[in-house]
Subunit: 471 residues, 3 copies
């Protein structure tokens, strides 16, 4: 008989072995309620600046979350029916989208999306029914009732979630008005910091580059017709971000290469690109140089650099054309760091002001490249499992792949990288449970003493993100 | 003191943790006796059409099974002594080959081959002695006695194994006489379906291509001197296979690329190839185009497409020259799917009639490429672990690598891919045991409810293969 | 409250599940005290020839061990402060370096370095305090006291460690005087064998090649101005090594390719290289040919060939320039064996006198390439996890990746590959514990009978290294 209830077991995600679980539960309990530090993510600052109320369950839980949508699409659901890349759904459409999710509940079995949704439904909205075609409407109504109440406004949830710091991801030309508004709001005691994400400005043959570089001139007040001005304008915007609280820059290109050009070559390629005459090879060479330039600037302004390359964005062009980017059809490719980052690390790898966090979707690089790099260079940190790898078994593989080469202290601490605001506590909770399980296993195998294990847990949740992101 | 008995423990391959094992045993028991669906394999249809009796233990258990032979070869045994690539062994040679296997029993420790052989010896033939130099003759005699009896004929075994469907792998020019004979045989109630395997026809610089394409014209009655006729002839043979019950086509090339040529370029390269004037680069370009053409035809005739690229076939040329292909010296190479399949998936990835199953021997692609592709495209299924990866620890790694991104419902269900008829039940049984162990672990870690776990097990054994292969 | 004691739990590194652990402990006990066979490593023969006493804890435990140093460097410690690439530290500097290690003790949590250091401190020197800033001096003094006593001299430790054979790694022009002295010393009953490591001689565009080849002529008495002489001189030095007890040659290049040149092309490229006129491409082609030549010579002189390619040596050039090679900044890159070794294996893969051991830092090759190669070619052995992979979780992954394809019998047995003499017993002990855990899991899952498990353990520790290295 199908189980119709939804409950959160207190020992969920802890190892099943009773001896290990007992230790893991103790370790988890020691950090389970610590504040959330979220130094990389995609929640709009505007939600908190304006203390928005959320319109309905679908626009909060489904439409913005490509993790949820891609699996429904893989079962034949149209993204349109989920509100993706469309004007806001009306009340009936929103309810229908929620029914689609609930009636595909079995598609999420074994996935972290299921864990996050369970935690949101039960933990935030008090849902006690397992989603299904039959229970969809009742659950929808229950969440909708919640959302109408002031304690489910954006700031109330921020407080309830125990968030200490939340980073957004922003365009270099963004005026960061919402971040400023929050900073200047005496009724707000949280911390929302921007992140400098210049990808489009560093891809000279990207579809919007000419306009982007023009806008950069406009916003910075620095001419970007020549290479030197362009570099100065980027540095200026980084300063602006630092003034508004930014702690890091974020970079995602097709590869992680950082080959440096001579000043003359860089200027020459920039001029070609401005005339739209750069070949793809030249544009790529310039981009790799510019990424290295970002590291040079980090040595000056202290912004931590994070890289997460090697994803084929919008793999299915017809979907991109209908729905836009970031809708669930980005597919990873092989990554390479050892040779790719070498030019940059030769220059800045031991600079006292430089910190680099490496994220990957290619697990093969964890033990082969990332951990060895972080285990030698003082500047390099092994980034937490990201995106498709932010999942229980993958997180365990990550710890098992990097710890033996780099220990715990040079790992970045958890990052949630999410657009789904309400999933933040569940994601951090998942990470803490899995780390507790890994560390408990070390204790149970006499590879770590128990007092050290408690230290490690506290470090992973508090010390490491602070140190990695200079908080 | 060495243990001299051979027994099959009822809990073999289930996790050792008592709590998980209890759940796993329940889950396994719920599917252990379900019929076998085998939608991809290499058993000759003739065996069943003619209801053959098997001559001797060696020609049944050793000679056709390259899994068994390659390990003996790696310990210095000559393939000749095992009957490979040679006329049938005589009685004394057959007995000697069996002795070689038994006296190398320790070479199989820790391998799935050992599991399959144990299951065949004990489960089918009632052997209770562990194979060794000392026990070889007694075991040989016991199996030989069995084989002489009618209940060990091909059809009797098919029934005893509980096979519901068995797919063979066939040349596009094959007349499928045995499949037809079975279909028309009122005394036969099983189901044996052919599979369209056109590899040689799609490799224009392959050693036999000119002859193959000529034969294609002959068999189809369609001229293949020009590109259009060649395409029409292939489509004709696919139709013939569909009429004879085929549900899928099967493709194994050095890479998985699917770059499409213009109609003009395809015709031009085909004409060059027909004159044996195509460069290797041109031949490869044509092959990649032709693989995409197979997908186009699948949208029309509904045949499911399976790909399993990236094996260096017959790695040791002297062995190939002495013994032929498929004798155990195929060695995997790196695979790549994200970019390789993109041209094909751009065109057909959301076509309602298209289904693609991706198999790999490169485990790095499970979490990085295959699961993300299957987790977005409605057409794509993550194929079960195959060949070298059809093994307990590898199967666990597969589930742990793909489930978190794609769940269970977009995985293909087990395929045995075997030439060793008697190993089919053991192979399916191994898969069921390991899936039960994985699913039980999810239950024990409170990642899945128990009622869902039973559903998942039934789906993996029944629903998924039916849906994936349109049965 | 922090635990301040250092103890070695008898069940450390064994699986935590009580049922598996009970079996693992039995299995481990059956091999825990067997002699150590160390067929690949970097301890200087001179230490044993001269029966040296060790000056101080730092020069014994820290300075020569790049595993220890790299992690300290990654936390901002200068290699100079650890004595790397510098004249010997004085007493105060040595004590200060030891304090640095102890006050960074938490950096090693979860790493095998921690396991090895614990085992050395507690097991060899009787230390009972956990290292920390507070306990550093006391521990230093305790070890220093030990080192002053004759039972801590090199030969006494060799005996105490239970070493049966120790291989060094040597330049082809080395006169092997220390090996000869040991062989001729009637008071010495151990066995120290050289290993032929010709890397620099096979890299025609390497910085020292011209001088190396000249020295080769000088030492061998054979002209090396032409290709034939060069080959003859190499063969001569191999003979010299064989006469001095060598059992293997060792090769580490950027890739594993073995493409063979025609005699004419080889001679031509050699002549170009001698004139320093070979392009990098030509130099690489010649190197790949020369690696194949080493295999040809192995068929003649019987030396086992070991390869471990694909490391970017001295990744951070400024560190190399200040401190030299082998100081912890070598970073792995992707490896490839299937195509790379094919030319060599086509020729020598089934030669009865040829044995090849493949090591890798790229775990993806374990199941994809190395195990399939070792599971077909009689000559090929799957090398034990090496360097960054000589670590508990990585060793488990290795067994889980290779065993199912190649069993146990074609794996090399453990190699420690260390420069840290006192870590040898701890490293072999770690391997035995982890293998016991893996084998016990097979028993607990009814994949292997218990009597077989004891056999496997004995084989892994004794039979396999003897067979693999022809001891």
């Amino acid at each position: 008989m199908p189980d119709s209830t939804l409950t959160l077991h207190p020992h969920r995600l802890l190892p099943a072995d009773p001896g290990i679980r007992a230790v893991a539960a103790e370790l988890y309990d020691s950090v389970g309620n610590l504040p959330i530090i979220s130094p990389h993510g995609h929640v709009p600052a505007q939600w908190l600046a304006d203390d928005v109320s959320f319109a309905d369950p679908t626009s909060l839980l489904i439409t913005p979350d490509h993790y949820v949508n891609r699996l429904l699409h893989s079962h034949g659901v149209s993204l349109s029916d989920l509100g993706v890349g469309r004007p806001a759904l009306d009340a009936e459409q929103s309810r229908k989208a929620f029914r689609i999710l609930c009636s595909h509940w079995s598609a999420y079995r074994g996935t972290p999306v299921r864990f996050w949704l369970d935690a949101q439904l039960a933990g935030i909205f008090g849902v006690t029914l397992r989603p299904s075609a039959e229970t969809a409407d009742a659950i929808y109504d229950q969440i909708a009732d919640c959302l109408a109440r002031p304690e489910f406004g954006a700031r109330a949830l921020y407080d309830r979630f125990g968030i200490e710091l939340l980073a957004t991801t922003d365009d270099p030309c963004d005026d960061l008005a919402h971040h400023r508004a929050l900073r200047d709001d005496p009724t707000w005691s949280g911390r929302v910091v921007p992140t400098f994400r210049p990808d489009r400005y560093l891809e000279p043959n990207g579809p919007t580059w000419i306009d982007d570089v023009d806008r950069l001139a406009e916003v910075s007040g620095i001419e970007t017709g020549e290479y030197d001005g362009f570099i100065a304008a980027l540095a200026d915007r980084r300063r602006y971000f630092v003034e508004h609280g930014a702690v890091s820059t974020d970079h995602s290109h097709a590869d992680a290469r950082t080959d440096v050009l001579s000043a003359g070559d860089a200027a020459r390629l920039f001029t070609l690109a401005r005339k739209q005459e750069a070949t793809d090879e030249e544009a790529t060479a310039l981009r790799r140089h510019l990424v290295s330039e970002m590291a040079r600037m980090s040595c000056e302004d202290g912004l931590v650099m994070t890289v997460h390359p090697a994803v084929r964005r919008s793999h299915h062009t017809p979907t991109f054309e209908s729905y836009g980017a970031d809708v669930g059809c980005d597919i990873p490719i092989r990554a390479e760091f050892t040779d790719a980052l070498r030019p940059m690390l030769q220059r800045y790898g031991t600079h006292p002001n430089f910190q680099l966090v490496i994220f990957t979707l290619d697990e093969t690089t964890f033990s082969r490249e990332i951990a060895p790099l972080a285990g030698f260079y003082p500047s390099v940190y092994a980034g937490a499992p990201w995106w498709f790898l932010d999942a229980p078994d993958a997180i365990r593989r990550y710890r098992a792949a990097v710890t033996e080469t780099v220990g715990f202290a040079k790992t970045s601490g958890f990052i949630d990288d999410t657009r789904a605001f309400c999933s933040i506590p569940a994601r951090h909770d998942m990470s803490r449970r899995l780390d507790a399980g890994y560390v408990a296993t070390l204790v149970a195998e006499h590879r770590l003493d128990l007092d050290e294990a408690f230290d490690v847990m506290h470090d992973l949740v508090v010390t490491n993100p602070r140190k990695t992101f200079k908080l």
